[in-house]
Amino acid sequence: MTAATAPGAAAPGAAGAPGHAPGALPATKPRGMFARGLEVFLENKLALVGIALLVLIFAFCFLGPLFYHTDQVHVNLANEDLPPGPGHPLGTDANGYDILGRLMVGGQISLEVGLAAAVLATCLGTVWGAVAGYFGGITDSVMMRLVDALLSIPTLFLALVVVSMFPPTETELILVIALTSWLSTSRLIRGEALSLRVRDYVQAMRVMGGGSTRAVFRHIAPNAIGTIIVNATFQVADAILLVVALSYLGLGIRPPQTDWGGMLNQGLNSVYDGYWWQIFPAGIAIILVVIAINFVGDALRDAFEVRLQRR
């Protein structure tokens, strides 16, 4: 990982020098932070593979159904458990749904829930952590003790209890996952906020009469953006895996809707009959998405680290 950052960190300094007046500080701010970060990001081949994979998977799930028409609502028992063949490239499942088509529809839910839950969890965690870290003292203690307490119950256990009481709709699933997974984000951001709030520019803004709200939203949160984005990326992967785990336990989205975890759950019922095509497509799709997101997340972390090193 560090191998990729080294050339990226060196190059802009050398390239930017001629554009500036020769002085005591030759390589000051040659290009925007963003450009340098982007450069490091693009040099990471795994990140490009990850992006390409994600684009492909999104296109497959959201554009695929426009070209590949299947009935994913009505059960057709005449078609149940067909092996892959003409008409059904990946076979059919126990309800006669075409697996390729179901992979697209299920993927939409998995991706939507993963993304939405991660964005929500990140927003909540950021605000919570920034407020706690910025105010410090007793506010911080109370807010973070709550986080610590909730953190000591594994997310899956927490989500499991909530979801088991009622089969959730897509929105409810997003809410449950977001509400159970913002905790680690808030801890990270609190750490950032603790170090950011004593910075001179925040102090200066306070002296000029800026309020706490302004400090949190205009200064603390934006300056922690690197941590926030990197964390959000991994949150997406975690959220997708959490949905999958819940669906596997039979507590996911209601039929006839499904997600990749639901497909796995259903396929597992008959996999010992030799219907391998009912679990591998969804399993592989999940692995690909999570790997791709992790590649992108790692590369983003490297890119933002460059930014931090040069600050």
Partner: protein, 302 residues
Amino acid sequence: MVLLVTVITFILLRLIPGNVAGAVLGPSAYRNPAALAQFNAQYGFDKPWFQQYLLWLGHLLQGNLGYSWTLDQSVASLLSERLPKTVILVGLSTILALVVAVPIGLWQAVRRNKAVDYTFTSLSFLFYAAPTFFVGTVLILVFSVKLGWFGPEGPQGGIENDLTDWRDLFLPVLTLALVTIALFSRYMRSAVLDNITEDYVRTARAKGASGKRVLYRHVLRNSLIPIATLLGLSIPGILSGALITESVFNYPGMGYLFYQSAQKQDYPTLLGFIIVVAIATVVGSLVADVAYAVLDPRVRYA
């Protein structure tokens, strides 16, 4: 801390829609309000939630965790029955994970950016991304259905069966270990890479220590520090993995019971188990902190 957990869990369980009496007595009970009321009175559900909580807490302090009405057994006896099963599963797989992950991480770091490194990095990404139950199912398909080497179902009954039926225990342990190996070996790799560039390595080399000696005596020992910390902090993750693994292999441990109790809205059992999990997590991070200070003399808590 653990006390706060119990309050939160208690409130959470009460906030959730659903009627305990209805869940226990079955749907037909709704036609019989008297039975519902009697059940509620018997278990104290007619009182406000904080009274219920204090009642429950009072029992807890006397060592009474409550009574599981779906399994007709006291929560304490359920715990003593199921907890050792999970401890064995989690313990064995963590030991296996360490034994495998530490050498792999070290090897990867030494052969950095070589074929070995890339192979294991890809493998660890693969297992980190794969849902636990998918790994478990594939393992069952290959080793149990195809090859017939190991049993498809975890050992049933008490812990003594875990020893006699070790062939059944192998796959659950392996499933849980694979995911943990993926995580640990990545940490180990980066820890070794960090240490290899340290000054003390150069010093050791300069005074004439052989490459092997530097690696094993200096780098390895220093790289194990973050792993010890990670071990304490990954307890909640491993327990979640255990929940899934146990339900894949029908292994009657704590996680599987938790899952069943959640479906049956068995509050006393859920509360009892969340307390155990919370204690394990808190103890885990405490041990991680202590281990960090003991293993690394540079760390001093002021």
